[in-house]
Amino acid sequence: MNTDIIPFIRKESLHILRDKRTLLIVLLQPAVMLLLFGFAISTEVNDVRVAAVAPHRTAGVTEAVNRVAHNPNFTFYGYIQQNEIDDVLRRGDVTAVVVFADDYDRAVMQAAQGYAVNPPIQIVVDASNTNIAGTASVYLQNILLGTASAQSLFETRLLYNPQMKSAYNFVPGIMGVIFMLVCAMMTSVSIVREKEVGTMEVLLVSPVRPTKIILAKMIPYFVISCVTLAIILLISRFVLDIPMSGGIGGIVFVSLIYLALALALGLLISTFARTQIAAWMVSAVVMLMPMIMLSGMLFPIENLPLVLQPLTCAVPARWYISAMRKMMIEGLPVGAAMTELAVLCFMLLAVLGFALKKFNDKLE
């Protein structure tokens, strides 16, 4: 069995190698996606335009405004009048306006001495983009609090990703998606292609057991996925500077389990789908959408409606992404991701068993 499977693997590899366009996409896509999310697309807030309203430009006010103006996240628009606030915000000239009180200097001084005072600063933010509004107002508060030299009761320390780089957040998510795309989608499409072209009829009317044909189909895609995994890990480490201090062995091991699970899912899809289009659709709608929405890749699972939260447990990418966050970003060893690993292993056995049982060696 082991020796005569080689012609089948060779045949499958030829299919892949002759389809140069797909091969190129499969190998380039991870790198492009990683670099896009790592550099071009970011959820950090930059270049927020801010105006100030100050009845008296005292030393305290000037100092506070300078701090804002010199911060790389903000651009200072200029001083405006109280009655202009609405206009500049409406026109989109600025995103936020800082309004200083008449007695700003005195209030700051009293606050520093421990007196309770009315807030001497008001921040008016254009909240039409909630993401920017939230982040900008927090940034502004931090900067202005420093000026007011009021002692904050809290000190915040950002662990694991102190610069809040969005790449750190995206890499595990991208890995979860790419492996599903390559393994599940491509295997299911390639198996269904045999049905559609009619070669499956000839394959079935032969002494070879279908499991062997299927296994031979999976191996080249598994190899491609391993190359992809290597590309992703190299870019993550050397271009995006992700620490991965938890040990590369654990990361690779959990990834291999996830790859196998994705292959098994592809096989399962191929047992239902009759045409290549259907296989694509099932992969995209039934797998890709829930994966992006419910895996915690884009939206934190805790923020999802309560009804949806239990559903996320059925999404393999959720467990994989969670394990990758622990090992790649937090730098924990594989032991910290045992729950995720156990769930992935269980899913692998269940899906593979079901798919092989469902795989028919007849046409109907």
Binding site: D4, P7, F8, K11, L14, H15, R18, D19, V197, G198, T199, E201, V202, L203, L204, V205, S206, P207, V208, K362, L363, E364
Partner: protein, 301 residues
């Protein structure tokens, strides 16, 4: 015991009876033809015999093996060439052949004496992708692949559909060569003229078999007189002839219309009637029935 034995085999898809209590048997070394139009149930019969689908009722054996219980053994013994081109278009001729040899756990050399007369014709193109071959060459490659494991029974589902006339004739010559090597063959075709090249044929229509015999035997079943008629305006001719007394049936056949004559048919009277109707160049002559005439007659019963 015959190589293929089919006993009241039925298969339905939803409401459609694809195959309705079909029985037939094929002896060793026989070249047996299934003749019938699309939808006659030919492909369904092939899929049942090659164990790709299971019957609803009835039974069949191939080489003495039951198609339901012995399907794994059957798959080792038979060669199958499905109706549509079913090789890998992105692999070369040689790669396809090697792959199918591997599929049956054999090597091209082991069956070369059997495959060579066919394969030699496409060997000059062995590095060409199978998808880029002409229709005739594709059929030759598919036949080579189906023969690579020396099957004792060969199932060929419409092997000549979509192939030019010369290649079709060549293909039947190859089948004759395989028959000489004692391979049992079941071939389906929608072309009546190809039926002549079979040992025996079964005429099928809408899931039923209308008759089984040798081609000559089938033709001899035609028990009416047959005339070929032609005129300047063939359409008016058809209508005028159909309503004429003594004409059992009249249908277009090639460049003429065939008339199935009843007992009281008078060719001279028809000639006069047609000329009186203003038809030009009227010609009426007795002719020999073909398999197609038998088929049309059986279908109308």
């Amino acid at each position: 015991m015959d190589v293929i034995e089919i006993n009241r085999l039925s298969k339905r898809y939803g409401q459609v009876r694809a195959l309705d209590e079909v029985s037939l048997s094929v002896g060793r070394g026989e070249l047996f033809g299934l003749i019938g139009p699309d939808g006659a149930g030919k492909t369904t019969l092939f899929r049942l015999l090659t164990t790709l689908i299971s019957p609803d009722s009835g039974a069949a054996t191939v080489e003495g093996l039951d198609i339901v219980h012995g399907y794994r053994r059957i798959r080792e013994l038979v060669g199958y060439m499905p109706g549509r081109f079913s090789l890998y278009p992105d692999l070369t001729v040689e790669e396809n052949l090697n792959f199918f040899a591997a599929l049956f756990g054999t090597h091209v050399q082991d069956a070369y004496d059997l495959v060579a007369p066919i394969y030699r014709q496409i060997e000059p193109f062995k590095n060409r992708r199978a998808g880029k071959l002409s229709g005739g060459m594709k059929q030759k490659l598919a036949l080579s692949c189906a023969l690579i494991h020396r099957p004792s029974v060969l199932f060929l589902d419409e092997p000549t559909t979509g192939v030019d006339a010369v290649s079709r004739s060549e293909f039947w010559d190859m089948l004759a060569g395989l028959k000489a090597k004692d391979i049992t063959m079941l071939v389906s075709t929608p072309y009546m003229d190809e039926a002549q090249r079979c040992d025996r044929i079964a005429l099928c229509n809408e899931g039923r078999i209308l008759g089984i015999d040798t081609p000559a035997g089938i033709v001899s079943r035609f028990d009416s007189r047959l005339y070929a008629v032609s005129a300047g305006n063939m359409f008016t001719l058809l209508q005028a002839t159909r309503t004429f007394e003594g004409v059992d049936a009249c249908y277009p056949f090639g460049s003429t219309h065939h008339i199935v004559a009843g007992g009281n048919f008078d060719a001279a009277a028809l000639d006069g009637h047609l000329k009186a109707d203003g038809l030009q160049d009227v010609r009426i002559a007795p002719c020999m029935p073909t398999i197609e005439d038998v088929f049309i007659k059986l279908m109308q019963r």
